[in-house]
């Protein structure tokens, strides 16, 4: 893979905007094959050289889906999460899973960086916006989820795992899904501890906790709880499902395809692709190819294959 210098990348991108129309192919061929660290350097150099923000130029020159995927990809991961989280609070509905997704699939450090980026960009904290824009049981769950700074060690306390599995089972049996202890366990325990607790839950009580949380398929709070569990314990399965529903045009998660591809391209896309292939009879590339067109499709496919080159 030929590597241009940062200066050359900037020149090429500038050329892509020049004249009538835009050379989207050139934009894809450059940006899709750069890491977030490289893109950061390109943005800085572009601003120094041309006195303009690359993102603003992209915004001017591109349209809709393609623009969104390129702009999201060009953002630094922390800024991207901050942007997506802010969007999610502004247009929050009880079926919106983006906040859970960001709070639970990122590492403690990544979530912290996102919160710092949020301060810088929006002049408020993520917590205060989430608290202000959500209500009821959703607020009770979401605020702790975004506020937490989970311990990231592998140590597990089996006695605690047993007692907390019992508490979860008890509350779920009583249909007290919004109980303080359910929220406490899911929002404060480390991921390793939660995994141990839920493994014990399955062994002791026979079902996966998410099966027990499916009693009412229309209950949106239960859906958020299930998403929380999945994001914390099996993020690749969570993302596979989001992609599958988005590609089959089911559900209301607009922009899910763009969001998942841009946020996971540098993280665990390979595992998500394997999961997708296992679960569906086609590869993710194939499914994206059938569902999207043009430059949007090209950019998505380039990102989905990002780590493979």
């Amino acid at each position: 893979m030929a590597t241009n210098s940062v200066t050359e990348d900037c020149e090429q991108l500038r050329k892509a905007f020049a004249g009538w129309g835009t050379n989207e192919g050139l934009i894809i061929s450059i940006l899709a094959h750069r890491s977030s660290a490289q893109i950061k350097l390109i943005r800085e150099t572009y601003a120094q050289t041309y006195g303009e923000d690359l993102l603003k130029d992209l915004d001017k020159e591109l349209s809709s889906d393609f623009e969104r995927v390129v702009v999201l990809w060009a953002l630094d991961p922390a800024e991207r999460d901050a942007f997506l989280a802010n969007e999610a609070t502004k247009r929050w509905t009880s079926s919106n899973q983006v906040l859970v997704e960001i709070a639970c699939t990122r590492t403690s450090h990544q979530l912290l960086l996102a919160k710092q980026a949020y301060h810088a960009r929006f002049k408020r904290s993520l917590e205060e916006d989430v608290a202000h824009h959500t209500s009821g049981d959703f607020r009770k769950l979401l605020v702790p989820l975004v506020s937490t700074y989970r311990y990231e060690g592998e140590e597990v306390n089996m006695t605690l795992a047993k007692s907390e599995a019992k508490i979860l089972h008890e509350k779920i049996s009583e249909k007290a899904y919004n109980h303080e202890d359910v929220i406490r366990i899911l929002s404060t325990r480390s991921k390793a501890q939660i995994n141990a607790t839920l493994n014990y839950y399955k062994n002791e009580f026979g079902n996966d906790i998410n099966k027990d949380l499916k009693t009412d398929p229309k209950d949106e709070f239960l859906a958020i709880l299930r998403a929380t569990v999945k994001c914390l314990t099996r993020p690749e399965k969570y993302f596979e499902k989001v992609l599958r529903l988005a590609i089959n045009k089911r559900g209301t998660d607009e922009g899910a395809l763009t969001r998942v591809v841009t946020t996971r391209a540098e993280i665990d896309m390979k595992i998500i692709k394997e999961e997708y292939h296992k679960r569906n009879s086609v590869t993710l590339d194939h499914a994206i190819g059938k569902d999207t067109t043009g430059d949007y499709e090209k950019m998505l496919l380039a990102l989905v294959g990002h780590g493979d080159a």
Partner: protein, 308 residues
């Protein structure tokens, strides 16, 4: 022959705050065993045992243990990295008889980055997050507030939205007025505002209270939280004064070391001293000089004189 003023000096150096090492050395060092025997007969710190000897009153030996340890505790705390310091203070507060005041103090008077550092240190020291330990141990109406306070990562800019300040001030005022029927810290909206909004925002809300004569200077958890967030120097001045009063219990006394060591290097030590003087008519240094003994006293006075 031991002189009565020596008895007094020794009794004084065995009571109060810290120990008067110099007196102990100069008096005890030169006494013969008869002098010490006379002292034991006279001193309230000894009792006559049935088997005909004067023995130490048990709880007084315990008391002395605390007093001798004060300098060591202060020095160890002072040399600690602030993150480790705050993490250990919180762990102690969580494990010990529930000292919610200390949790509120640390969570609310530190900057966002300092609190974050403490949370990191807590991970390293105790293999848990602060929030999981507090959520697990606190089972009463304080849980949501305390977990929210230690989890906060407040925006630290000065930008404040007046309309939101006004509407949230109304919410808090209503909760305060209703305090007899419902503890404000059990109100979801109160907890939301107090645990997520920035300090400048909360200070602006606090200004609204002044307008309706609500001083929030009581002892309730809500009052303490608002004081720590909006007027920390007032809060610290009160805590220091309580620690220096005669008859204060250990939990209250231990605040003297904690507050002075944790604030000595912060910009607000100057403000705390000013506030103390305003509230109590004497300087903090004079009060400490009067009430505290020995090397412990000297250490504290040196700390608070820094930057003068």
């Amino acid at each position: 022959m031991a002189l009565s003023h020596e008895f007094q000096a020794l009794t004084k150096s065995f009571s109060g705050f810290g120990v008067d090492e110099k007196s102990m050395i100069s008096v005890l060092g030169k006494w013969h065993k008869d002098d010490i025997k006379s002292y034991r007969k006279e001193s309230p710190h000894f009792v006559q045992d049935d088997r005909l000897f004067e023995k130490w009153v048990d709880h007084h030996v315990d008391f002395l243990k605390h007093e001798f340890l004060r300098l060591k505790n202060a020095v160890v705390l002072w040399t600690m990295h602030p993150w480790e310091r705050d993490a250990r203070l919180m762990k102690e507060a969580i494990d010990g008889p529930q000292a919610y005041g200390v949790i509120i103090e640390v969570a609310c008077t530190r900057s966002s980055e300092e609190l974050l550092g403490a949370r990191r240190a807590y991970h390293s020291l105790f293999d848990h997050s602060i929030e999981e330990d507090i959520a697990y141990r606190v089972n009463d109406s304080h849980r949501k507030l305390l977990v929210g306070l230690v989890s906060s990562y407040r925006y630290e800019g000065t930008k404040v939205h007046e309309e939101i300040v006004k509407s949230e001030a109304k919410i808090l005022c209503a909760a305060i007025k209703n305090a007899d029927r419902k503890n404000p810290i059990e109100d979801e909206e109160v907890v939301r505002i107090v645990t997520t909004r920035s300090k400048p925002h909360l200070k602006a809300i606090f200004q609204h209270f002044k307008g309706i004569n609500e001083n929030l200077d009581g002892e309730s958890t809500f009052d303490k939280t608002m004081q720590c967030l909006c007027t920390p120097q007032t809060y610290f001045s009160k805590v220091l004064d309580a620690s220096l009063r005669h008859g204060a219990d250990e939990n209250t006394k231990v605040a003297l070391t904690r507050v002075i060591v944790t604030r000595a290097d912060e910009e607000d030590m100057k403000e705390i001293k000013e506030e103390y003087h305003k509230q109590h008519g004497v300087s903090l240094s004079k009060k400490i000089d009067d009430e505290v003994n020995g090397n412990f006293k000297d250490f504290l006075l040196t700390l608070i004189a820094r930057g003068e």
